[in-house]
């Protein structure tokens, strides 16, 4: 799981904290009240925090407070991550604690995991990892950059990479590193010829090395965000070159010897485009999933076209819809569409096109929806890791202006002429409705929030309410005045 912090300071739209693991919708990780603390921004733009009763526990006097991943967190009076700041440590009562002097200069994106934050030493400007319970460096701040992915940290020093667990235990060293959502690939380069000649695949969950492929002639990378692939090239004594591509999580091998067999041409997440060649020179291309299952027949023409994408903060494409064309034999093309995440062919509702149908991605699971002016359809549904791509009509002749989000395959926020709503799609009941000047948003997992906004000559005032969301019902937790946003850890 790749975690990234982003800071939400928005007036009207409360952006959901996204969780990237499939289990997030049912797990108990409380991203909102992380460490029992909800960090908020007031109408003056200052950060403070309340507890689960809505009582102010950290005064609204900070320019920034990072969410608590341990007993302490980072805060600043006069800076933020984007512009740089001199940071210090505070406890859950807002008291400044003693610890090493640290800073952020925007050198790298801030990254964290439970218990640890990658942070810059104030004096040297170099990065290490801070144990947020002990307020001590678990990894010395001697690196040009340190990025925490899951529970694994990549520490760079020049062109040398070292991969650590966040407690400072060395996992391995590498010449080159690629990270995806769940795994990290650590390459060694051939010194003389400068191509990759080894790769270790490291689980971002626990730092274990799940595969170690060394001393090969060639290792290529295939950058599917969810399914990292690597190609190994070996030559036998007779000089026959075999290229084998494997994907993390799959036992299938796409293999070709001297060009005969299956060669992977490109990958979008779980959708693998494979060229199959016979010894007679004939070849054809078709999409497969990473397990070697052919999705649709061969015979498409041209390159697949990307018609829709979702990217994360690192500009990695985490989902896309691809259009592939077959000649209709009379000069035209018949197009079919593929969802790269589920590696499923998707159909659009009857009469809908990509111009009339807006796609919406539930990034807490693998669901994909399409909504039109008055209807909502489910296109891809995920259940326990198994995808189905059946068009299901969810709402028909429904009166909405816009759909903002769908979370956990169930909770939809939308805008109608009457205001902003949170609907439980399972029951089609509105759980929460606020006026058009405010917002209602599902904040995953387990909470919803609303904010009514009033403008005055002297500025703005808000009424901000936090609800607990349990099994399709809301209960109000507390209401606060003059709160304008959240400081949340977003997890992608």
């Amino acid at each position: 799981m790749k975690k990234k912090i982003f800071i939400v300071i928005t007036a009207l739209v409360l952006v959901a904290a996204l969780c990237g693991v499939l289990a997030a919708c049912s797990n108990t990780d409380d991203e909102v009240f992380r460490g029992g603390v909800l960090i908020l921004t007031d109408t003056n733009g200052r950060f403070g925090a309340v507890n689960e009763k809505g009582e102010e526990i950290i005064p609204f006097s900070f320019s920034f407070i990072m969410p608590f991943v341990g007993d302490y967190t980072l805060a600043s009076y006069d800076g933020n991550f984007e512009d740089g700041m001199d940071a210090f440590f505070i406890d859950k009562e807002g008291n400044i604690a003693e610890g090493p002097s640290v800073t952020y200069t925007g050198k790298t994106d801030p990254s964290y995991t439970q218990g640890y934050i990658a942070v810059q030493d104030k004096y040297t400007g170099f990065m290490g990892i801070m144990d947020m319970n002990e307020l001590a460096w678990s990894l010395r701040p001697i690196y040009d950059s340190v990025e925490i992915n899951g529970n694994v940290a990549v520490a760079a020093m020049g062109s040398d990479y070292e991969i650590y667990k966040c407690d400072g235990a060395l996992i391995t060293s590498a010449d080159y590193v690629t990270a995806s959502r769940d795994y990290l690939l650590a390459y060694t380069l051939n010194e003389e010829e400068e191509y990759k000649d080894g790769v270790q695949i490291i689980s971002l969950a626990d730092g274990s090395v799940v595969a170690d492929v060394q001393n090969v002639d060639y290792v290529g990378t295939l950058n599917g965000y969810t399914s990292l692939g690597y190609t190994v090239e070996t030559a036998d004594s007779a000089g026959a070159v075999t290229r084998t591509t494997r994907f993390v999580g799959s036992d299938h091998e796409f293999k070709a010897t001297d060009g005969v067999g299956e060669s992977v041409t490109y990958v979008w997440n779980n959708t693998v485009y494979v060229t199959t060649a016979g010894s007679d020179g004939a070849s054809s291309s078709a999409p497969y999933d990473i397990y070697g299952t052919q999705i649709i027949p061969a015979g498409y023409e041209g390159e697949p076209q990307t018609v829709w994408t979702v990217s994360n903060m690192d500009n990695q494409t985490i989902r896309s819809v691809l259009r592939v064309g077959w000649s209709d034999g009379v000069g035209g093309y018949t197009y079919r569409y593929f969802d790269s995440l589920s590696a499923k062919e998707i159909s659009l509702p009857q009469g809908a096109t990509f111009d009339s149908c807006e796609l919406i991605d539930d990034d807490e699971n693998g669901n994909l929806y399409c909504y039109t002016s008055n209807a909502l359809y489910s296109l891809v549904t995920e259940s326990e890791g198994v995808y189905t791509a059946e068009v299901k009509e969810l709402l028909l002749d429904f009166n909405f202006i816009d759909i903002d989000s769908i979370s956990c395959g169930r909770y939809m926020t939308y805008t109608s002429m009457q205001g902003n709503h949170l609907m439980d799609l399972a029951t089609r009941e509105d759980l929460l409705t606020v006026g058009l000047s405010g917002g209602a948003e599902y904040i995953a997992p387990g909470y919803a929030m609303s904010m009514e906004l009033a403008e005055h000559s002297s500025g703005i005032s808000t009424v901000f309410t936090v609800y607990k969301l349990e099994d399709g019902s809301l209960s109000e937790m507390f209401t606060l005045n003059d709160i304008i946003g959240l400081g949340l850890l977003g997890i992608i």
Partner: protein, 477 residues
């Protein structure tokens, strides 16, 4: 002039240690080496200098614009236009001055707002007579003191020994007359005099090492070469009563070459100069002189015997498999190990610090790939002796960037770009994680990490946290 103005550095160091031995360190930390006085100059994040002990605890607050390392009991530190002499408790024991250059117990100072300088003896408070200018000459450790007088300059050289500026010596002083005045040094030589083409003048050439003087009359030209700013040698043209012109070519080690018709500097590498000398006697073949500031390294008539420095910082000659490298530090003769069937050829030579050079040889076998062998050669007290093969460093992706006095190597990891120290066999002495390493003498190194510096002691690691922008700057030592 006193004999032997040049004290070996080691002796001076011993003197300093002896002087500072009486001070007690103020805590449990280090009080050896660079911490002999208990504290070192440190710069805080706002750019101000103070002094900290080996734990990084500030002993003298960072409130100075500059601060020098303690040289014996005293250090110099200044803020604004005022400079002070301070002791290791931070007490200002003398000053404010307009400027201070501290030699130990003696300082050359100027008073605030006043012209002129004088020598100030800290122990007694005694002041010397005022002079107009001075220049400190690190080699030979001496100061040149100048006072303007009618018709010229009175200049004298005074050696600096044991932290004291030695008293005036009648042999050292000289008086310069004439409309064009020269005072300049090169190596152990100093030339002072005047020329006036209409009226030939006088000039004296001093050997500061041996205190011998050559006086010239009828001088029509004094040519510092290559320039007055950076003279490495000189030619003095004079004429006798009969009108015969004479050119003497003077090398920095005191070698005089007479009967010269013309001198040209043909080539150079840092610290080494090649000169071609044509003689008045047309029958006599031109001579070539290759010299550094201490000695003539090679001389001969056949320049083809001397190989030009295609790579690096050395000239070299080769004879029967033995290579002699001529460098700023002196001449090194080394016979690389021969390998059957392979030709060994010189590839490059670089100065590696503290009298050492790094030489690379290409080993060219009859068949197969060329390989390279890297060796370090160092001059010791007896002349060149030490050799170490560091070919294995390249396999560890390490480059040797500097050889310390202790025969340790400051190395750079070519992948991480970070610096550290190894011993001559390649074993790590200082972790190779720093963005810079500077030797502070003995077991101590200044280590830089990004924007901050600390002191590393071999065997103990970083003595203080990285909280200072700089520690023990080179210029403060």
């Amino acid at each position: 002039m006193k004999k032997k103005i040049l004290l070996p550095a080691a002796v001076l160091l011993l003197l300093c240690i002896a002087l500072t031995g009486v001070l007690t360190a103020c805590n449990k930390g280090e009080n050896t080496g660079v911490f002999a006085s208990g504290v070192i100059p440190v710069q805080d994040e706002y750019g101000y200098w103070g002094y900290a002990d080996s734990n990084g605890e500030i002993v003298i607050p960072c409130e100075y614009n500059y601060a020098t390392a303690f040289n014996g009991e005293y250090a110099a530190a200044g803020r604004g236009s005022a400079s002070y002499v301070i002791d290791s408790s931070g007490k200002q024991v003398a000053g404010p001055f307009g400027s201070v250059v501290l030699f130990g117990n003696d300082a050359i100072v100027s008073d605030l707002g006043a012209d002129g300088y004088y020598i100030y003896t800290l122990s007694s408070g005694e002041r010397s007579e005022i002079f107009d200018r001075y220049e400190y000459l690190p080699e030979p450790e001496a100061v040149r003191i100048e006072t303007d007088a009618s018709g010229g300059i009175v200049a004298e050289y005074r050696s600096v020994e044991g932290g004291a500026v030695q008293p005036a010596d009648e042999n050292a002083s000289f008086f310069v007359q004439g409309s064009t005045q020269y005072i300049f040094e090169f190596g152990s030589m100093a030339v002072a005099g005047a020329t006036n083409y209409a009226e030939p003048g006088e000039c004296s050439v001093y050997n500061l090492e041996t205190s011998t003087v050559a006086n010239y009359a009828g001088v029509t030209d004094i040519t510092p070469m290559p320039s007055a700013d950076a003279a490495v040698c000189a030619a003095v043209t004079s004429s006798d009563a009969e009108g015969n012109t004479r050119v003497d070519f003077i090398l920095p080690d005191g070698t005089f070459i007479n009967g010269v018709y013309d001198v040209s500097l043909t080539d150079s590498v840092p610290g080494v100069t090649l000169a071609r000398v044509a003689y008045n006697d047309a029958e006599k073949a031109d001579g070539y002189f290759l010299f550094n500031d201490k000695a003539v390294l090679w001389q001969g008539e056949d320049i083809s015997a001397l190989n030009a420095p295609l790579l690096g910082s050395c000239y070299y000659t080769e004879e029967e498999g033995a290579f002699t490298f001529y460098t700023e530090y002196g001449a090194f003769t080394h016979t690389p190990e021969q390998i059957d069937g392979a030709t060994v050829s010189f590839s490059s030579c670089t100065l590696a610090g503290e009298g050492a050079i790094a030489v690379s040889y290409a080993v060219i076998p009859a068949e197969g790939d060329i390989s390279y062998r890297n060796v370090l050669l160092r001059l010791n007290e007896q002349g060149f002796a030490e050799v170490s093969d560091v070919s294995a460093f390249a396999e560890k992706k390490l480059s040797v960037v500097y050889v310390t006095e202790e025969w340790n190597l400051i190395v750079r990891n070519n992948l991480s770009g970070r610096y550290g120290v190894t011993d001559i066999s390649g074993d790590t002495v200082v972790d190779i994680v720093y963005t810079g390493v500077r030797p502070l003498g003995g077991d101590f190194y200044a280590v830089k990490m990004g924007n901050a510096e600390s002191v590393y002691k071999v065997g103990s690691g970083e003595l203080m946290p990285f909280i200072f922008t700089a520690v023990c700057p080179e210029e403060a030592l």
